[in-house]
Every structure is written in structure tokens, then in C-alpha cells.
Amino acid sequence: MFQFDTLSLVFVALIVLGAVPNLFYSSGYLPHIERKAHYQLHYFTFILSMLGVVVSANALAFLLFWELMSLTSWQLILTEAKEKKTIDAAKFYFIMTHFGFVFLLLFFLIVTDGDLETGFASMHGIAAKFTYPTLLFFFMLLGFLSKAGAVPLHVWLPYAHPEAPSPVSALMSGVMLKVAIYGMFRFLFDVLYPWPLEWGIVILVIGSLSSLIGVLYALSEHDIKALLANHSIENIGIILIGFGMGMIFDSMHLKVLSSFAFIAALFHTFNHMSFKSLLFMGAGSVLHQTHTKNIEKYGGLIKAMPVTALTFLIASVSISALPPSNGFLSEWMIFQSMLGSSHLDDTSLKLAIPFAIFALAMTGGLAIACFVKAYGITFLGLHRSTNAKHAHEVNFLMRTGMLLMTAVVLSLMLFTPFYIGWFDEVLKGLGHLSVYAKIFPDTVWNMHSVAVHGGVVSPLVLLGALLGVTALLMFAYKALKVKERIHHTWGCGYRTSAKTQYTATGFAGPIRRFFNWLYKPEEHLCKETLAGHESKFSSSHYEVHVKPLFEASLYDSVGKAANVLSYWVYRLSHFEQTRYAAMIFNLVLTVLFSYRIFAHEFSWATFVLEGVVMIISIKVLIIGDKK
């Protein structure tokens, strides 16, 4: 029923690390929830079910907990179902996760020969005997990626996560997505092991796309939680890039590099858990103070809520992969493994991988831009609304939650070797080479890439150096005893007010304009001009909305198709009201005919004859002639 090997334990640790600070936070958040019993019941069931998924040892248990996880998270989204938006988001989320479940179910049924109590260990043999392993791979992929929110199954994320109460969105985005990653580790290694090269490439491509698309839509968001949700898509993409590299190396028999890449993926999984939870908590506190998710209504909150601001800053640095943060380290590892691609002896692949590198680098750059926006507009400058003006620091429990999560982030930064060693254990458990000795050959100070002539980074030294130099400079500044004067912002002499500062929309403006072909934004500009002047106007309002491309193209059309289909089915099925006898008549005719033809002896002539006869009799008896 349950198993506790290293992989499971590592993910248990991940869930615990994610959940414990969240417990504090959510208990601090609880007073602001109306349906407390409902909330808490589902909240704890949710955490337990996630634990259940990662420790379950047979398909039945796995599916049970998996579905329980979806169910509870769905109910949690509905905790504060006030407006239509929330309800639709919840519905969308649930159908998407069920869609994934369908494929998972098929996958499991096939690899267990229909007997779901069989453990994961014995699945490998059955899967090996199956004729179409790629089919299995795609079933599994669809199943897990629809939960992890990778392109093109990512559309639900920016809707569902923001609508949940903040602790829950922290859990969902930080932890639940990782459970899907666990699933990929578990079943790709235990069940589908020898991977063809194509699989790795597929995952790599999906990863690159997700990372780019995620960050691009994050940039165009005004809803802070949706912004963070989009960043989850991006980070899942980064994890998948590492994962894909690992698979590619493995199928090219570069075992060392593959272990390295997988470790990088795992490391980034942990990092994303930590800083994304922290960011959602911060966003939650801000939301909780200002009662709006619209980033344009914030501003200057750093003065009111210093703790939130500090933790949010740390998380932002980390998620933007800036040295010496943990986010930087994991992305560094992923980069190094990609640079290791120069060892591949497959030129076309070699030429392809730089594009992935490009995608990752681009993502990094855009992520920085996006978090400058998120942090700057939210916490810096002047308050843009009265709510923001009257905001103050959140209560003790919530603060504790955030600080604990910050501690997790920092620990990931400071004790990298320890964590790496752990992940190394995991890979050993999964039958891969152990590369810890190669990553930290002599001391724990320097972190080596395992590629030949690979780069080296020494996180702690970097950290020390940065802190030292900064401290030195500040000390010097203090020593100078500079005269200081407080005065209004000059701003070329214009009067600075909340109105004159840059908005988030404006900040993302250049980038949005550059990617116009992708966004296809709909812009609303209304302007009260004075006496028909073009330039002089009393008031003007500009806002821009971006509808994700995939949703506009893929999902809407599916919905339309379903509608049309159901309409026709509906019309057809109403013949029975008047013509039931005729219908049964034709039905019996068809059945007998088919039995006669297929069950007794088959000949095309009779088959065609049947067709003709059936058509005639349906026309005559059911449809009848036009009135």
C-alpha cells in the first residue's frame, strides 16, 4: 500500500517544508474566512492527500489520493465563492484535472493489466511487454502535465490559483504542482525506463515553450496572484527543461551528465516550492490588507509592511535567478547541463539545444523585468489607492509563516551541498550514477559542473563577497558623515503624485509592444478632451487586456464544438417522441442484419445492400417526407 524509498521521502520532505510554514500562515489567515469548518476540513485533507500520493505504492492508492487531492483543492478554491469568476475558475480547474486523470487512469490500467493493486515494481515488466510504449509515455505526460500546468495544458492555472484563498494558492502553486513532478520521476524511472531519445526532446520542447509563454503572460498580468501563477508555469517549464536534458543525456549514454541534469531539476523543484510559496504568502498579505488583487491599486507598501516587503524582495531575487540566491544555483546547474550538450555526438541535436538555452536565458531576463515590476509597483513609490494608504503589517501568525518560508529559502541557499547530496541519493535509488563526488570534489565551497571543462560557482563565497563589499561601502558612507536633507522628489520639476508615477501597464509597455504579435491585446482608451483639443484633456483612462493565445484558440473552439454537437444530438434524439415504433423497427432491423452479416458470413455485397436498405427504411419510416 505505502512505500518510503528515497524519492518518496524527499518529496514528503518537500511537502512538509511547504506545508509547515503554510499552517502558521493559514491559521493567521483563518479569521477572514467565512466557512471555517469547510475550509479547514478540506485544507488538512488536501495536505494529507498530497502526502498520500507521494508515498502510495500501488496504482489504486495513487489514483485514490490523486483524485482526493483534486477534489479537496477544487473545494478549497470554492471556499469564498462570491462572484461568477471564482465559480468558473473552479469549474475550469476541476474539468482540466479530471481530463488529466482520464489519461492517468488509462496509463495505469494498461501498465497494471487492469489489476490496480499491483505495485509499481511489477509494472515495469508489463509496460515492457506493451507494444506501444510511446502511447504510454504520452498518456502519462498528459496526465501529469495537465496537473503541473505545462503548455498547452496550462490555461487553468492563472484562473484557478488566484481565486483560492492565499494560503491555498501558496500550497497549490508551491506544492501541488510538484506532486505532478514526483509522478513523472516515479513513473518514468520505475515503469518506462529505457527512454527513446524522442521522449527527452518532447519534454525539452514542452519545457522551453512553457517557460517562455509563462513569463510572457506573467508580464502582461495586472492581477498579482495571476502573475505569480503564470510564473509557476514558467518555473515548471524550467524544471522540465532540466528533466528533458536528463532524459536526453541518459538515452545518449551520458549517465553522469544525466544525473546532474536530474539533480538540477529536483533542486529547482525545491527552490520553486520555497520561493513561490513565499511569494504567494506575500501577495496574500498584501491582498489581505488592500482587499484587491489589482497591482495598479498598490504602491508604497514597503513603508507600511516592512516584513512582507523584505521577504517578498528575497523571494523575488531568488525567482529571478540572481546570484547568489538558490534560484540562481538551480538555474546555473540547468545551464551547465545544457552546456554539457557539446559532448553529444549528434550534430542536429547539438544545433537544437542552443535554442533551449536561448529560451532559458530569455526567460531569465524577462523574469527579472517582471519581478522589478511586481516588487516596484507593489511596494515602492506612492500608494495608488486609499486601501494601500491605510494598509499595515499583517498579524503575527502570518508574519511567522512568511519568515519560516524565508528561512526555507535561505536554507536552500546556504546548505546547497546537503540538499544536493540528498537528491544524489534519490538518483542512486532510481538506479542512476551518483555524481555528488563530482559536483563537490574537494570542498563544499565550490560547486562544479560535471561537464568536461565545466564552469564552477561558489555560492557561499559569492554571498560572502557581496555582503562584505556592500557592508564595506555602507560603512564608508557612514564614516563620511554625509549631510542629508529630506525633500520631495524633483522629477524635472513636475509635481509628483500617485497619478504621475509609472503604472504596471506602463512598465510592461515596451515589452508588451515588442511581443504584440503574441499578445494581440485589446486596448481601451477613453479620453475627455477639452474643446476638441487633441493634446489637452481633463481625464483619460487606458487599460489593456491580454487573452492567452491558447485559450482563445484551443479551448474556446473545443467549447464551441461541444455546443454544436450537443445541439444536433438533441435535435436527433427528439424523433423518438413521435416515431419510437419506427426507431425500434429500424434498430432491430440493423442489429439482425449486422448479426447476419458479421456473425455469420461477411461479404461486401450484402454489406452494401444492408446500408442501402437501412438508409431507405430510415428515410421512409423515421424522417418521413417534408410537410
Binding site: 489514483l63 487512469l105 488509462l106 490496480l116
Partner: protein, 471 residues
């Protein structure tokens, strides 16, 4: 002896239903509560247990079905106590209802316990005809029209079933002579049937009859219309009991057909059910009121049960059957309550139930709603897992594996269309619309509780082992 014991409560009910005085009104429910006891007694007895020669033989399968049906019957009776609080019903009609309920019950017992095709058919016919009148207890022209409709269609279906039975009989007669109508003997000698084709023809016709009666393609909506037109307990009886009588017949026939030629049977049923579920899922996608929604989903589940059964997932089929037999009546009864305050409006239908009873009510109803789309820990979750498992095993053995897996995927997609619709309905019931004071009666709560308990009982390991034993 045992048979008399089984029939007795029904006969008593029949007799009591002629008393004109007030007492009858309380006597009738009491008598109908009694029906459970002999069932339990029967359940305890060693199997197989011959009740009446080789005509009525109780084995594990049909005692299980009978037990389930009787529990449903009790639930329905509980709900009937407060029928007149919700709808206008004269005492006379009330008694008549019970009278025909008694007849119905007798027919049901006969058909379920039958070990003989002919006897099975007689029982079925009896049950069908009696339900025709139950529909009529509602004095509306719609009900009247539907009753006629049901009379005719039901008659056709039933006749088809008999026709098939006779053909099968004819096919087996050269081997077994007069006993060719006994299920167990047929099953034993299925391989020796001289003309499999004749048998299959008979099976096909009989199956079409039964499927039409269960509302499969092409007759998807007639049950819905009937249940809409009649009182909600009738709907509950239909979905909970009558269909179980039909499906058990299908179980028995298909068991024999498996022996005769498995691949033909499987292809036939698979195509038929797939077609049905395709139509039904998109009808559900558009369904606008509870009755239609639930009866359509009933059709869907019946199709699934048939599919599981023919693909060898006996356990899955029976579990699913039990779960459905408890869930669907429960939903129909609650529909009665929901519609009695605030008509067919879905939005906000579950809101405004305050107080202990109210809370319990909406909680139970949402449980049922989520259980019917097989979310854990509903029994349907497990039954569907096992059922699809069985289908996959069949698929892997068949020589068109890819096509089969594709078909199963398609089936799952259709099911998720239904899933989507139900989620939407549930959400709009619970979270949309406006809040207004509504009330619900204790007896209904008890009925729902009974069903909930029965569902939990299905999840017990003992039940699982018992059902596994039936296969």
C-alpha cells in the same frame, strides 16, 4: 415456504390497500417496511436455495439484487410518507399506488429470483404493467400521455424480449428439450447449442428489448419524460428497482451468450453502449432540469454496468449496480424536495436549507451529486476503476488493441463531458442564485440517510469479498 414469506408482505399490502379508512394510510408504509425482513432471511440462507422447484432459485447474485431493491423500496416508502406535503395527491390514488406497488413487488421478486426465462419474463411484464398505473397516480394530462407512451413502448420492448427468449429456447430445445428455458442448464450446455446463430439472433432481439426498456439508444428520452410526468417516488422506483430487474436478466442472458460466442457479444454490446453513452453524454450536456439530468445519467450508468459485465468485470458491474441503485433513487427523492420548493431552478437550489435538517439535507445531496460522478470515496470510483481495468484487459487480448484503447479513451472523454456538466450543476446549485428559506421533512432525511448508509455499507471489505464471490 420461503417463497410465501417473500410474497406475504406484498399480498398484505395489496389487501390493506382496499381498506377505505384512515388506518390504511399508516398500515401501508408499515407493511412495505416489512418487505426487508424476508430478504434478510433469504440472504442468510445457504446458496443456491430452490424456492420453487427449478423455477425460482435464489443464488448469491439475485439475493444481492433483491436486498438492494428492498432497501430502495423502503427508502421510497419513507419518502412517500410526505408525498402529499409536496404534491396534490388524493388518498384514493395513494392507496391505489400502494396496491400496484404490491403487484409490482411480486412481479419483481418473481423476475429477479427466476431461474427460468419464461418465468423471468412473466415477472417482468407484471412489474411493467403495474408501473404503468403508478404513473397514472398523478392526475395530469402529461402523466396520462406518458402512461400511454410507456404502455406502448414498454409493451414493444417486453414483446421483443419474449420473442428473443423463444428464439433462444428454440435454439436450445434440440439439446435440452422442455428444460431449455432454465438459465443454469442453458449455461451448462451453451457449448452444445446446434445453431449458435439462432441463439445469437434471439439474444440480440431480447437484448434490444431490454436496452430499449432501460432507455438506451435510440430511446434515450422516454424514461426521462415519464419520470418528469409522474411523482418522484415512481422515478425512484424506476431507476432503483425496475431497471435492476431488467439488468439482472441481461446479466443472465449475456452469461450464456459469452459461452456461445464471446467476441460477437462483446462487439455488439460495446458498440451499442458506446453509441448510447455518446448520445446521452451530449444530452446531459444540454439538460436543463434535475429529472432529465438524473434519468439520463441513469441511462449512462446502466450502459456502463452492461459494458463492465460483458467485459468480464463482474465485481465492478455489481458494485456499480449497487451504488447506482442507491444513489439514483436518493437523487430522485431529493429532486422531489428541491423542486417542491422553487420549481426546476438549478441555480441556488441547494441554498437556504437552514437548521439541523436543512444542513443535513444539502450536505447529503451534495455528497450524492459528487458520488454519482464517481469522485472518491464513492463506490462508483472503485467500480469504474475495476470496470475499466477489465475492459483494458479485454482490449489487450483482442487483436485490434489500438482501436479498442482508442474507443475506451473516447468513452472516458464522453464520461468527462458528463462530469463537467455535473460539476457545473453542482456549483450553480450551491454557489449561484439567491438565498431563500426552504424546508425539508424528517422522513426524507431518514430516506437519504438510509441510502447514504447503504452506500457506505457497499464500501465494506465484507461486501467487496461477497461481490467478488458472486463472479
Amino acid at each position: 415456504m420461503m417463497l410465501a414469506l417473500l410474497i406475504f408482505p406484498a399480498l398484505m399490502m395489496f389487501a390493506v390497500s382496499f381498506f377505505k379508512n384512515k388506518k390504511a394510510k399508516f398500515l401501508l408504509p408499515v407493511t412495505s417496511f416489512v418487505i426487508l425482513l424476508p430478504m434478510v432471511k433469504l440472504f442468510m440462507l445457504p446458496k443456491p436455495y430452490a424456492l420453487w422447484g427449478s423455477y425460482l432459485v435464489a443464488d448469491r447474485l439475485d439475493t444481492y439484487v433483491l436486498l438492494v431493491s428492498s432497501i430502495v423500496g423502503i427508502g421510497v416508502t419513507l419518502a412517500l410518507l410526505t408525498l402529499e406535503k409536496h404534491v396534490r395527491v388524493s388518498g384514493n390514488a395513494y392507496r391505489r399506488f400502494y396496491r400496484f406497488f404490491a403487484v409490482f413487488w411480486i412481479g419483481l421478486i418473481v423476475s429477479i429470483l427466476a431461474n427460468h426465462m419464461g418465468v423471468y419474463w412473466i415477472g417482468l411484464e407484471l412489474a411493467t404493467l403495474s408501473t404503468v398505473y403508478m404513473i397514472k397516480t398523478n392526475h395530469t394530462s402529461a402523466a396520462h400521455k406518458e402512461a400511454w407512451n410507456y404502455m406502448i413502448v414498454g409493451a414493444i420492448a417486453i414483446s421483443l424480449v419474449l420473442f428473443g427468449i423463444i428464439l433462444m429456447y428454440a435454439s436450445a430445445k434440440p439439446v435440452l428439450g422442455e428444460d431449455a428455458m432454465q438459465f443454469d442448464l442453458l449455461l451448462a450446455h451453451a457449448k452444445e447449442i446446434p445453431s449458435p446463430f439462432l441463439f445469437e439472433m434471439g439474444f440480440a432481439i431480447a437484448t434490444v428489448g431490454m436496452f430499449v426498456k432501460m432507455g438506451f439508444f435510440p430511446m434515450n428520452l422516454w424514461l426521462a419524460n415519464i419520470e418528469r410526468a409522474s411523482f418522484y417516488p415512481v422515478a425512484a422506483l424506476f431507476s432503483g428497482i425496475l431497471e435492476s430487474a431488467v439488468i439482472i436478466g441481461f446479466f443472465r442472458f449475456s452469461k450464456i451468450a459469452m459461452e456461445v460466442n464471446y467476441s460477437h457479444l462483446f462487439v455488439f454490446v460495446f458498440v451499442y453502449t458506446l453509441l448510447t453513452i455518446f448520445i446521452v453524454s451530449f444530452l446531459i450536456f444540454r439538460a436543463k432540469d434535475f429529472m432529465r439530468l438524473f434519468s439520463l445519467s441513469g441511462v449512462e450508468h446502466m450502459a456502463l454496468i452492461a459494458l463492465f459485465w460483458v467485459s468480464g468485470g463482474t465485481f465492478a458491474a455489481l458494485l456499480h449496480f449497487g451504488a447506482h441503485a442507491f444513489l439514483k433513487p436518493a437523487l430522485f427523492l431529493s429532486t422531489g424536495v428541491l423542486e417542491s420548493n422553487g420549481k426546476y431552478r438549478i441555480a441556488g437550489a441547494l441554498r437556504g436549507y437552514v437548521g439541523k435538517r436543512g444542513t443535513m439535507f444539502w450536505f447529503l445531496v451534495s455528497l450524492f451529486l459528487l458520488a454519482i460522478i464517481s469522485l472518491p470515496p464513492s463506490p462508483m470510483f472503485f467500480s469504474e476503476l475495476y470496470g475499466f481495468g477489465a475492459m483494458i484487459t479485454v482490449a489487450k487480448e483482442s487483436d485490434h488493441m489500438l482501436a479498442m484503447i482508442g474507443a475506451i479513451l473516447f468513452l472516458l472523454i464522453l464520461l468527462s463531458v458528463i462530469f463537467y456538466r455535473f460539476v457545473a450543476v453542482y456549483q450553480s446549485m450551491k454557489y449561484e442564485g439567491k438565498e431563500e428559506e426552504k424546508h425539508v421533512y424528517t422522513s426524507e432525511i431518514f430516506a437519504l440517510l438510509l441510502f447514504a448508509l447503504a452506500l457506505m455499507a457497499l464500501l465494506l471489505p465484507q461486501t467487496f469479498s461477497y461481490l467478488r464471490g458472486i463472479a
